[in-house]
Symmetry: C2
Subunit: 207 residues, 2 copies
Amino acid sequence: MPSPALPAPAVSRRELNKAATRDAIAEAALNFLRTRELNEFTVDDVAIAAGVSRRTFFNYFSSVEAAVASFTQRYLDSVIAELEARPSDEPILESAQFALSAVGSPRDLAILAETFTLTQDPALGRFQLQAWDDCSIKITEVARHRLPPGTDELYINALVGAVVGSCRAAVGVWFSQRGADTSEDSLAQLRELLGTTISLIRSGFAY
Amino acid sequence: MPSPALPAPAVSRRELNKAATRDAIAEAALNFLRTRELNEFTVDDVAIAAGVSRRTFFNYFSSVEAAVASFTQRYLDSVIAELEARPSDEPILESAQFALSAVGSPRDLAILAETFTLTQDPALGRFQLQAWDDCSIKITEVARHRLPPGTDELYINALVGAVVGSCRAAVGVWFSQRGADTSEDSLAQLRELLGTTISLIRSGFAY
DNA sequence: CTTTTAGTTTGCACGGCGTGCAAACTTGCA
DNA sequence: TGCAAGTTTGCACGCCGTGCAAACTAAAAG
């Protein structure tokens, strides 16, 4: 007698396949960027390297830029997930501080750092900016439910804008100081920079 | 005797022509966006409407998106100009407050507001984000020379990131409340929102 | 005024992009 | 086993963005 009907697995074969394909494509795109400029390879190149057809590439990403941005998106989404996991009565900037220091396996951070180098090209940079902006929108939603009801919309939006804007700047500072160094030492410094940044947001920029 | 040799005019005929062409192209692009979606017209359409060849369009802008972003760029550049015009011993956030309230003829602000509506399409939004990011970079340069020498790089970058990020958010709030309303009344409200935002950055987000 | 020089516009051509569509194929389910 | 639903693929088409060389135009030199 077969095992009792398993409920449809949380992740079906189809979903696994799709995730694998998606990863393969993104990885292939990143790989090309590591050795060439953006305009020195084509979507076909990436598709072939990922083992799919050109058409399938476009089923997953609308461009190489978008594929590369998926790494940053993933990192930022994990920050948001950490943020949402914090107790909802905790002061939100405190939650942010925890979320920022909790996040990031060395591997994820290595990608984040590498992405900073590889996206100097404006066409790639635009997609990175969009990832940060999408992140802002999601966090605003979280903040709206966290802050006391009736909190001024300006307060909410300015807070999120300031936090995301300054954290992005902090990552930039980290990268300009450490480059692609993702040793524990360097990661600790990143966490410290992000922590200091949140403190500044909380206590204000005196001058 | 002819009039004494005039020094070569500050703006030559050539420069005037180029500026006019550039404006005509940007204006034509915006005009199409007012009535159609981004993918419902082509670069050729815009070029013809602007009275130039397709090839000339690309001599000025690399895409329709870039042409549309030129309006936001112009606005942000004027804010930076105001900022640089402030006395350099003034606290920088105070300078920011002045610059933000000084700037913006109704016409400029009308365009800024309209731009917000017309750039919902992600492809357009990306270029807007880039305009704000370019602005950050320029302001960072200003801030570096304004703040006491030796000020922490993190402080400078986080400050600018927070200011620009929150001000962008403030413009978003303004737009969501007033739409394309650019009456004196509405503009006063925008100035107030921006002023409040800078105050928040200065004094901190308590929670 | 004429000639020269430098800067700008244009047409052309080419490779690459992004998408609709329909046919082939794969997975899930009865 | 066979059907339904989801996924991949090839193809074709219009549009994009750029290098190039020829036409044109403003500015400077003679």
